[in-house]
Chain length 171, copies 2
Amino acid sequence: MQKTATIDEAWGRKYPEQVVLAITKNAKGRVNLMAIGWVCVVSDEPPMFLIGIDDHAYTLELIRQNKEFVIAYPSSAMAKETLYVGTTHGHHEDKGAKSGLKFVPAQKVSVPLLTDAVANFECRLVTEYRPGNCPLIVSEIIASHVNNDDSAKRLVNLGKGYQLEGLRVSN
Amino acid sequence: MQKTATIDEAWGRKYPEQVVLAITKNAKGRVNLMAIGWVCVVSDEPPMFLIGIDDHAYTLELIRQNKEFVIAYPSSAMAKETLYVGTTHGHHEDKGAKSGLKFVPAQKVSVPLLTDAVANFECRLVTEYRPGNCPLIVSEIIASHVNNDDSAKRLVNLGKGYQLEGLRVSN
C-alpha cells in the first residue's frame, strides 16, 4: 500500500541511480570533471544525451564556452575519484590532475576521453532548456568508445550521499 | 584502454538502467501503462521529471489529452507485468486490466497510483521538447507517495531486451 510522502522521501526510493562524468577543458587546457546523476538518453537518431548541471558549476560555464565535452561512464574502480570530482568545485581546483585519473585524446573533440572508463561519448552542444530550476544541456554524440575490457563494471549510486558501488550487469 | 565503438555498442554498457511505469487514463476511464527507460529528474524546486516517449505510443496521446499522469517505480515483484506493458500497445488492449496490477485513487490527479509500487509520483504536464527523434515530456510532480514497506526493491533493467531484476539498495 501507498502512503503520502515528501518528494525527498519518494526520491529516496529512486536508487540505484546512474552516474556519469562530464569532462570539459578550459582555455588554458586544464581538464575538468564533474559527477552527474541527472542524465538521460533523449534521442537515438541522432544519438543524444541530456544532462542537468547546476547553475554555478564550472562544467556548465565550459560547455557554454566550448560547445563540446565528453560524457564518460566511470567504472567500479573509480568510486573514490568520482566522489572527489563530484564534491569539489573546478573554478580554482585542477580536478583533472588532482583526481589521478588518466586521459587519452578524443577523436573529434578537443576534450580528452577517460582512459579506464566503461565507455566514453564525444558530445557537441545542441541546445539548452530550463523547465524548472536546473539548466538542461542537450548534446549530440558524435563519436563513442568502449573499454577493451568488456567485463568492466559501471559505477552506480546506491543511495543518498554518494553510496558509489560497481554493479556487474550483462549486455 | 578505449576503442572506437558504434553508439549501440557503447550504449550497451549503460546498464543497470532505471525503469518507470507511466500510468494514464483514457476518456472511457480505461487505465493504460507503459514502461519507460528514458527518464530523468530535471528540477527539484519545483520537482520535475522528464520522460522520453515514442511518437506512436498511446501514453503520449493520453498525456497530451489529459495533461496529467502518474510515474511509478515498479518493484522487483513486477518484472513480468513491466515486461508485458513495455512490449504491448495500448490503443486496442486494456493493459491496466490485463496486467493484473492493482491500483488505488491518487490524491490530485484523475489517474490512479500503482498500489504495490516502490513509489508513485502524480504529474502534471508542463511542456514538451523534441531535440532529436523522440518527444520529451516534462512534468511537475504535484504529489508523491511511497510503499509502506520500505524494503521493497526497485526494478531495474540489467541489459538489452528487458533483463528486469530487483536490486536491493539503501536509502
